[in-house]
């Protein structure tokens, strides 16, 4: 029985991938990219989850044996920042594209570029 987290995360990735592959609008593609990224982050976090344990913050009554795996959380923290940065950059590129070509349709842009 596949975990609901895994299922959800992979579904999010696939939905994002679908948007990237099929949608013609650059903004929609970027939304797809964002969704995909969320899915990846969710997947990473859920990999580190150990049933019944709490957050990996050492405090009263919570030792290393009671915490979930901290490494994916550190990874995801990094990944979120990277994701935001790439999204911001891609959005600025999208703005420039719109200024240049007056459209956000990828096929149109290809045609206009020649």
């Amino acid at each position: 029985m596949i975990s609901v987290y895994y299922f959800g995360a992979i579904s999010l990735i696939l939905i994002g991938l679908y948007a990237v592959l099929v949608k013609k609008n650059v903004l929609k593609m970027l939304i797809g990219l964002s969704i995909m990224e969320t899915g990846v982050n969710l997947l990473l976090v859920s990999v580190g989850y150990i049933s019944g344990r709490s957050a990996p913050i050492l405090s009263e009554g919570i030792g290393p044996n009671q915490a979930v795996d901290p490494i994916p959380q550190a990874l995801v923290l990094t990944a979120i920042v990277i994701g935001v940065a790439t999204t911001a950059m891609a959005l600025s590129v999208a703005m420039i594209i719109y200024e240049r070509y007056g459209t956000l349709n990828v096929e149109e842009i290809r045609r206009l570029r020649g």
């Binding site: 991938l17 592959l21 290809r110």
Partner: protein, 614 residues
């Protein structure tokens, strides 16, 4: 003290590099000639040693042991190459105007001699590639298209060889010839190498050496590459470099002859694998000779003729008897000297007139008498007129083919010889005789270095023609037995005898008698060339009496059907298709559409998922 074998191999390359780096006119020619003369001097010095024992040398470079050996056979090939090499150097002193030529011409000299002396596949392949690269660079300077054609075919050949070497290495674990030979010999009875693998290795080697030898259908590079380079260099290109292919076939015999016999068996009493080589040679002889006859360009004519003559060597090797090998080896020498001479004569003509087409030439015999005499020796030798080297070698090949009961193959040689006559007559007629075009009035004799070069190659033609025993005696040493008997002047095979001295004497006496008849005949009066028979009509200078175009038109018309099929066009079309395919591939995949790159990613992910990685 540097080893003598290393000097023999690398002296030309070193001289070439020095000549290229200094680039002082006069000095670079001198250095080049000295560099080309060194191998011949050392080979002559080592001759007494070689006939009793082998001279070995090996050095280890980056984990590979490179082995070189001078034995009776490698000495023979290296000497032939060096002889042609020194003639090339003298010729280039006249014809070449740049140090670039010297660098690469001498580099290919090193490559060829190195290929002949190598005793393991590492050095063999390295020097083979050096030879290919240097000759490619020589052609590249003058014609990009032809050089690329040569390069692509050579690369196909070289990498076919690399694959074959890889298979042999995987099967035997050895790279040196001696170990491979022994392993293949033992494997003939063990049969660990399956029939299919043996055939594959054989076919790959056939491709590799067939390209260099110019065997039909892998000959298409030859006409272009032989023409579009310095003609003095072509002396070496066609005289020595094409012998690397012939040597390769011999190597095939040495390495896996018995294994191939054990695997492929015999076909109507002939060794099957040798029979294939013989037919390759026979087809090459016929096709190339027909094409040579129909050429309108002096360089193209000799290029096709060169291909055809190397076909004789393959054919002789393919006969499979020791007599065949003797004939082939003899023809290696005689083809090198007469075809080398032909290219030097061509170099002289092109240097002095600046023209290459037959239609622009004529009546040069009076202007360049020495060159004409040299050209005549080459013509007589190629066509196989008795007291010259070409006759002795062709005679041996005939004897071998007849003795081996190969009537069709012998017929191919016969046809090839007839056609050879036809194209050298064309050369004699269009270049030397007849009316001289007015723009050739101030043509002078070829420069001295070129004349020396011609003399270097003309002397062996005469000496080995009158005394073919000098060569066959040595060939007997290579082949380890009394294959061709007789003495210096007589060749004795199991089915015939050829006495060169007697023929020479008879010829000289005959010419003397004819000369007497001529001298004591009617009074001789010199008349101008235009004062001639023209159905009784007067002829002026403006009237062109010599047939300079389409000399063999009826032959071309008779062959019309066959000439429709051209390997040249086939390869051009293949190249065009490949180019189109590559172009459409590029446009289809590298299309600038962001989403298709995403799709590639998705597809790879899907494959990984299906594979079970994800």
């Amino acid at each position: 003290m540097i080893n003598e074998l290393l000097i023999i191999i690398f002296a030309p390359l070193v001289a070439g590099v020095i000549a290229w780096a200094l680039d002082i006119k006069g000095l670079r020619e001198l250095i080049g000639i000295v560099g080309a003369a060194v191998p011949l001097a050392y080979l002559a010095k080592l001759y007494p040693t070689v006939i009793s024992e082998t001279v070995d040398y090996s050095l280890t470079i980056s984990g590979f042991t490179l082995q070189f050996q001078l034995n009776t056979m490698t000495w023979y090939f290296a000497t032939v190459a060096s002889l042609v090499g020194i003639a090339m150097a003298f010729g280039m002193a006249s014809t070449s105007k740049s140090s670039y030529d010297w660098l690469f011409a001498l580099m290919s000299f090193t490559g060829v001699v190195g290929v002949f002396l190598s005793q393991d596949f590492i050095s063999f392949f390295l020097l083979w590639e050096l030879m290919t690269f240097a000759s490619f660079m020589m052609v590249l300077r003058r014609n990009r298209h032809e050089s690329l054609k040569y390069f692509v075919l050579s690369v196909i050949g070289a990498y076919a060889m690399l694959i074959a070497i890889g298979i042999l290495y995987a099967k035997t674990g050895a790279l040196d010839f001696e170990s491979i030979r022994q392993a293949m010999y033992i494997d003939a009875s063990l049969g660990t190498m399956s029939t299919r693998e043996t055939v594959l290795v054989f076919a790959l080697f056939l491709t590799a050496f067939g390209v260099k030898a110019g065997a039909v259908p892998l000959h298409v590079w030859a006409p272009g590459a032989y023409s579009e380079t310095d003609q003095s260099y072509t002396t070496f290109f066609s005289g020595a470099l094409s012998k690397a292919g012939a040597y390769g076939f011999l190597l095939l015999y040495i390495l896996m002859g018995y294994k191939l016999y054990a695997t492929l068996g015999t076909f109507h009493g002939h060794l099957t694998f040798a029979y294939i080589i013989a037919w390759m040679g026979a087809i090459t002889v016929v096709v190339a000779s027909f094409l040579a006859v129909l050429q309108e360009d002096i360089r193209k004519l000799f290029a096709y003729s060169s291909v055809g003559q190397v076909g004789y060597i393959l054919l002789a090797f393919g006969v499979g008897s020791t007599l065949g090998l003797a004939g082939g080896l003899f023809h290696v020498l005689s083809h090198a000297v007469f075809k080398g001479l032909f290219w030097l004569v061509t170099a002289a003509i092109i240097l002095q007139t600046g023209k290459t087409q037959f239609k622009d030439m004529g009546g040069l015999a009076r202007k360049m008498p020495f060159t004409f005499a040299m050209g005549l020796i080459a013509v007589l030798s190629l066509a196989g007129i008795p007291p010259l080297a070409g006759f002795a070698s062709k005679w041996l090949i005939y004897e071998a083919a007849i003795q081996a009961h190969m009537p069709l193959v012998a017929g191919a040689i016969f046809l090839g010889s007839g056609l050879a006559f036809a194209y050298v007559v064309r050369f004699l007629y269009s270049v030397w005789f007849g009316q001289r075009p007015s723009d050739l009035e101030d043509v002078k004799e070829a420069p001295l270095p070129l004349l020396i070069a011609m003399a270097i190659l003309a002397i062996p033609n005469l000496v080995f023609g009158v005394a073919p025993g000098l060569v066959t005696e040595y060939l007997n040493k290579i082949l380890g037995g009394e294959v061709v008997g007789g003495d210096y002047y007589r060749l004795v095979t199991p089915t015939g005898t050829y006495n060169a001295l007697l023929v020479t004497i008879a010829l000289v006496i005959g010419i003397a008698i004819a000369g007497l008849v001529y001298l004591y005949g009617a009074r001789v009066r010199k008349i101008p060339v235009t004062n001639t028979y023209q159905s009784g009509n007067p002829v002026t200078e403006e009237f062109n009496l010599s047939i300079r175009r389409n000399f063999y038109r009826p032959l071309a018309e008779a062959l019309e059907f066959w000439l429709k099929y051209s390997w040249d066009r086939f390869y051009e079309r293949l190249a065009g298709l490949t180019e189109d395919f590559a172009d459409s591939l590029r446009q289809a995949f590298y299309n600038g559409n962001v989403q298709s790159y995403s799709w590639y990613l998705a597809i790879v992910l899907l494959i990984l998922a299906l594979w079970g990685v994800l």
